[in-house]
Symmetry: C2
Subunit: 561 residues, 2 copies
C-alpha cells in the first residue's frame, strides 16, 4: 500500500483563517489549525503606532501581515504537528473573502508596509465589508447605464459597493498619492498566492464575480473608466493585468521563502486562488448543473451551474468557468439569514427563554427552535419579509427593510423565530423560482456552512417550503476542503492528485447520510403562505407600495436634521 | 363655616371594586377602599361547591355576591373609618363595566343564588369580556342588515359579542330553562342600584351603548328579535323594561337593608347607574362639545360630546344624553394600547433592559421610555399598525392583526417600543380625523386612566402626532370620582349637592397643571409618518391587501387541521 498524499486548504475568513490538512484519497480532514488575525477587522482606527488615524463610518480594513502570519504560524503548525512528511503534502490552495483588495508596489509589497504610506488608510487592505465606497458604486451604476455597458446584465443590473472598482475608484478620489504609488491593485486572494509563489496571477473567480471581467469580453474598456473619473481610464492596464487565470490551474510553486515560512517543500504546487463561497461547491459534491448549493451562514450564497448563460434578472453574477471549469456559475444571495436569527436572539427574546437555555445548558437558538418545532405551519398567523439587511437577490435593493405581519397579544417569541426562519426559506424559494423561470432547473439542494450543522428544524422548513430534498455536505469546513481539492488538481495526477476538480470531488467530497425530504402534509399550507410572501415581496419590493422607501427616506432625513 | 358634605362613588371593575369618599365642595378624595372580588373573573369552572362545572372557551362570569360584598365590606369600611358622620354623606353613585348582565327573579334575586339554577353557568353574571356569544352577535349583525334595522348606523354598522342581546340570546339558545326562569335580564350596574334602593331602574347609558336603545326609537321591535330566534321576540317586554332612566337622575334612596350593609343612612340619595368610561368624562372636567376625553388604560375609550348626531362610520356608538344630559355622546375605541406595550414588555424585550431596570430600581417601561425618548421622530425607520387586538374604531374589525415595518439588523427594543407608542397615537389621530370629517370638531384632548400617570413620553408623542394639546385629569380614579359627582347631582342642591352635572364638574373636577403642547419641530415628520400609517391602515384594513385576513384564515385552518 502506497504512502498517503495530502493537500492543504487555507480559508481566509473575516476574523481568522483556517488551515486544514486533507487526505487526497478520500477527503478525510487529518488536522486543522485556526489563526485568529492579530488586527482582525480594522474599523475604528489604524493599528498602533498609528492609532491616532481614525477611520470614517463604513470603513473596514485588514492588515496583510495577518495573512502572512497564517502561513508562518498556522500552516507551519499544521505541517509540523501532523506527523506527516512534507513530501507527502503535494499542494496547497487558498480561498478568500471577496472583494478584499489592496494596493502594492510592483514586487507585491503592500503600500501599508511602507513608511511613506503607512498612515494613509487607503494604503491598507479594504475588506469585503468596507462599505465606504457607496458613492463610487452609485457612480459606476449610473455611468454604466448611461453608457449602456453590456456587462451590467450579467450582474442583475447593479453592482455593490463591496466590489473591486468602487474600492479602486475611492482610492483614486480620496488618496491620489496612494493610487499613484500603487503599481498594482490586487485581490488579497491573489496577493497571498503571489507571496507563496513569487508569481502574480489574477483568478477568474474574483475577476468575474467582483471585477466585471468575463472570458468573452475581458474587463470594461478604458473609455468607461475615464468617463467615471479623469485619470481612472487606464486602471486595468496600469494597475492590474488583463491576464486572468482560471481556477483549477496551478498558479505556481512554493518559493524558497514560502517554504521557510510554512515548512512545505519548495516546489509544492499552489492552486489559483478562489472565493470562499464558490470553492465550497465541489466540496459539497456538486460539479454539474441541476443542484443548487446553498452556503448558509450569516447570509446565504446560492451557487448553481449551467450549460449556458440565460439572463436572469436580479442575480449577483454569472461567470463562465467561474466555479467549475466548463460551466457557467450563477451566484445569488440572501443578505441576512443567520444574522437575522442572531438579531432576533439578541434583540427580541425575553429573559424566560434565556433562563431556560441556561437551565438546560443549551443555546437560546435551541430553546427557541424546540418550541418553534411544536408549531404547525401557519399556526402562528405570522408572516415576515426577511429584508433586515436589504434584498440581495432577486430585487437587488439594499434600501429594503424587514416586515412582520400578523401579531396578536398572544404572539410569543418562538412563533416569531419560526416566522423568520420561514421567511428566509421563502426568500430561497423565490431565488429557485427565478432560476427555473430562466430555464435553469433546480432538482435538489446541497447545503453547507455553519447553519445546517446546528438546526434540523431550519433544514426541514427549507425542504418543506421549497418542495425539494435538501442534503448537507459532510464537511463542516467546505471552503478549506474545496481549497484542498483544488490544490490536489493543481498538483496533478502524476503527483498523486487529480486531473480535474470533478475527479477530486468524486473522491474527496461527501454528503451526510441524512436527507431532509419535504413533508407533504406541510406543503399546501406553505404554498399558501408562499403565495402571500411573493405577493407582499412584489408589493413592497417592486415599487407597488412605497412604505419601506418612504421610511428609509424619513429616517435619513431625521438623522440629518 | 358649614359642615362638609360628601358623596361616595363606587367603581365596579373587572377584578375589584373601588369606593371613594369625595368632598362635594371641591372633589377632594377624602379616602378610598378597594375590594378585590373573592371569585374574581370566573373563566375555568364555577366556584365551589360547583367546581366540577367546567366553562367553555371565551366564557367569563362573575358572582353577584362579590358586588354585594363591596357594599358590606368596602363601603362600610369607608363610612366607618372616615371620621365622617353618615349624615354628611348625601349620596352614592356607582359605575360598572358593561355590558355585564345577569338573570334574576322578579324581586331581583340572581338565578345563580337559587339551588335550582346554581349549577347552570348561564344563571351567573356574564362579564363584559364573556366572548362566547360571538355566534349570536354574528346572527344579530346579519339579521339586522337583512331587515335593514335603522339602529345599525348608530353603532358603526356592527355590534360586538360583548353587548346585551348576544348574551341574552345565548341564554335562550343554550339554557332555555334559565331563560324561562328569568323574570328579568338586567345590567349588573342597574342590579346593584336595585339592591341599594329596592327600585328597579334601567340606565340610559348601558341601554344606549350596549342594548340598542335610543331615546327616539326605544329598543328594536319584537319582529326583529323573533326573526333572530323563535321565542326571543318578547325579550324586551318580558325580561326587561321599556322604561329607561337618564343618567343624572336619582334612582331612589338607600333602603333599610342597604343602610345596614353600608352604614349609610336610609334615605340617602342613590344615582342612576353609569358606565366606567362614560362616567369619567365629567370627572375629566368635560361637559360640552369640542374636547375629546381619552380614557387610557389597557385599551383607549374615546368619548366626545356633540350638539347633534351626524352618522360617523366605524364608531362604537352614539347615545343622546348618554354621557352628559343635553348632548349626544359618541364613543370610539382602540382595542390594544396599554395591553400592546405590556405585550411587548413581556414578549419582546431582551434581558439587558430587564437588568437595567433592576439596577436602577425602576420599571422596564421606564427604561425603554428613557431610551425611546432620546430618539428623533422617524429616526428608527419603523412604523407599526397597532392592531394586536384587532381594530375597534374606525374599521370595526377584530380579525385584523399587528404589522411592523422597517426593521434592520441595527433595530433595538426601545425603537420598537417607541414605534408601538407612535402607532397607537396614529390610531387616535385616525379617530379624531373621523370625528372632524363627520363635522364634530375636536379642539383639545383630556386624558385620564392609568397610562397618562406613568408615561410623559407617551403623552408628548400623542400631542405631537395629533397636533392638539393634551391635558390630564387631576384624579387618578376618574370613574369613582365621576360616580361621586353624579351622586351629588342625585342628592340635589337642597341637600348640599348640585343641580346639574355641569355644576358638579365645575367644582369637583380638575385638571393637572401640566399641558402637553405639540412640539412644532416634530410635526412635519409625524405628518409624513401619519400619511404612511393612514395609507397602510386603509391598504390592510379596508380590503386593498388581503394579507391579514389570509393569515388569519390559514391560522384557523391550521389549528383545525
Amino acid at each position: 500500500m502506497s504512502e498517503s498524499r495530502y493537500t492543504i486548504g487555507v480559508d481566509f475568513g473575516t476574523e481568522s483563517a483556517r488551515a486544514v490538512l486533507v487526505d487526497v484519497a478520500d477527503g478525510r480532514e487529518h488536522s486543522v489549525e485556526v489563526h485568529p488575525y492579530r488586527n482582525g477587522v480594522i474599523d475604528a482606527c489604524l493599528p498602533e503606532p498609528d492609532g491616532d488615524v481614525v477611520l470614517g463610518p463604513d470603513w473596514a480594513l485588514q492588515d496583510p501581515n495577518d495573512y502572512l502570519d497564517t502561513f508562518r504560524i498556522a500552516v507551519r503548525r499544521l505541517v509540523d504537528g501532523a506527523g506527516v512528511d512534507p513530501r507527502q503534502v503535494i499542494g496547497i490552495g487558498i480561498d478568500f473573502t471577496a472583494c478584499t483588495m489592496l494596493p502594492t508596489t510592483a514586487d507585491g509589497t503592500p503600500l501599508c508596509f511602507l513608511d511613506a504610506h503607512r498612515r494613509d488608510p487607503h494604503a491598507w487592505v479594504k475588506l469585503w465589508k468596507h462599505h465606504a465606497a457607496q458613492p463610487e458604486a452609485d457612480d459606476i451604476n449610473r455611468v454604466a447605464r448611461e453608457l449602456d455597458q453590456p456587462w451590467l446584465d450579467r450582474y442583475g443590473g447593479r453592482i455593490s459597493s463591496e466590489w473591486f472598482f468602487p474600492k479602486a475608484l475611492q482610492i483614486l478620489r480620496e488618496a491620489p498619492d496612494v493610487y499613484r504609488a500603487a503599481d498594482r491593485l490586487v485581490e488579497a486572494a491573489d496577493w497571498v498566492v503571489w507571496q507563496l509563489t513569487d508569481v502574480e496571477t489574477r483568478n477568474n473567480c474574483t475577476a468575474g464575480y467582483k471585477a466585471l471581467w468575463s472570458a468573452d469580453d475581458g474587463f470594461p474598456e478604458p473609455q468607461f473608466f475615464e468617463a467615471l473619473e479623469p485619470g481612472f481610464g487606464e486602471v486595468v492596464d496600469d494597475k492590474m493585468s488583463r491576464a486572468v487565470v482560471a481556477i483549477g490551474q496551478a498558479a505556481g510553486r512554493i518559493s524558497e521563502r514560502a517554504a521557510a515560512w510554512t515548512g512545505l517543500l519548495a516546489g509544492t504546487a499552489v492552486a489559483v486562488a478562489n472565493v470562499d463561497a464558490h470553492v465550497s461547491v465541489p466540496a459539497a459534491t456538486v460539479t454539474r448543473p441541476g443542484t443548487l448549493v446553498a452556503i448558509m451562514g450569516t447570509s446565504i450564497c446560492h451557487v448553481v451551474l449551467a450549460d449556458d448563460a440565460p439572463a436572469i434578472s436580479g442575480m449577483c453574477g454569472v461567470v463562465e468557468d467561474g466555479v467549475i471549469p466548463g460551466f457557467y456559475g450563477y451566484e445569488a444571495g440572501q443578505a441576512a439569514v443567520g444574522d437575522l436569527f442572531g438579531w432576533f436572539v439578541e434583540h427580541g427574546v425575553p429573559p424566560v427563554y434565556h433562563e431556560a437555555a441556561r437551565a438546560r445548558g443549551v443555546s437560546l437558538h435551541e430553546v427557541l427552535a424546540d418550541a418553534a418545532a411544536a408549531l404547525r405551519p401557519g399556526e402562528s398567523g405570522l408572516l415576515a419579509l426577511d429584508w433586515w439587511n436589504g434584498n440581495r437577490s432577486v430585487l437587488v435593493d439594499a434600501d429594503l427593510s424587514g416586515v412582520l405581519l400578523g401579531m396578536t397579544l398572544a404572539t410569543e417569541a418562538p412563533e416569531i423565530y419560526r416566522a423568520l426562519i420561514e421567511a428566509t426559506a421563502f426568500g430561497t424559494r423565490v431565488i429557485i423560482d427565478a432560476f427555473e423561470a430562466g430555464g435553469i432547473a433546480i432538482d435538489g439542494v446541497v447545503a453547507c456552512g455553519g447553519l445546517p450543522d446546528r438546526n434540523p428544524l431550519l433544514m426541514q422548513i427549507y425542504a418543506d417550503v421549497t418542495g425539494r430534498s435538501w442534503r448537507v455536505a459532510a464537511s463542516s469546513q467546505t471552503p478549506a476542503l474545496g481549497s484542498a481539492m483544488f490544490a490536489a488538481v493543481a498538483a496533478g495526477r502524476e503527483a498523486g492528485g487529480y486531473a480535474t476538480i470533478e475527479a477530486a470531488a468524486d473522491s474527496m467530497a461527501h454528503l451526510r447520510d441524512e436527507t431532509f425530504v419535504p413533508n407533504e402534509a406541510n406543503r399546501p399550507v406553505y404554498d399558501e403562505l408562499y403565495a402571500e410572501y411573493v405577493r407582499l415581496h412584489d408589493l413592497f419590493g417592486r415599487g407597488g407600495d412605497p412604505a419601506l422607501k418612504t421610511l428609509k427616506r424619513i429616517r435619513l432625513g431625521s438623522v440629518g436634521a
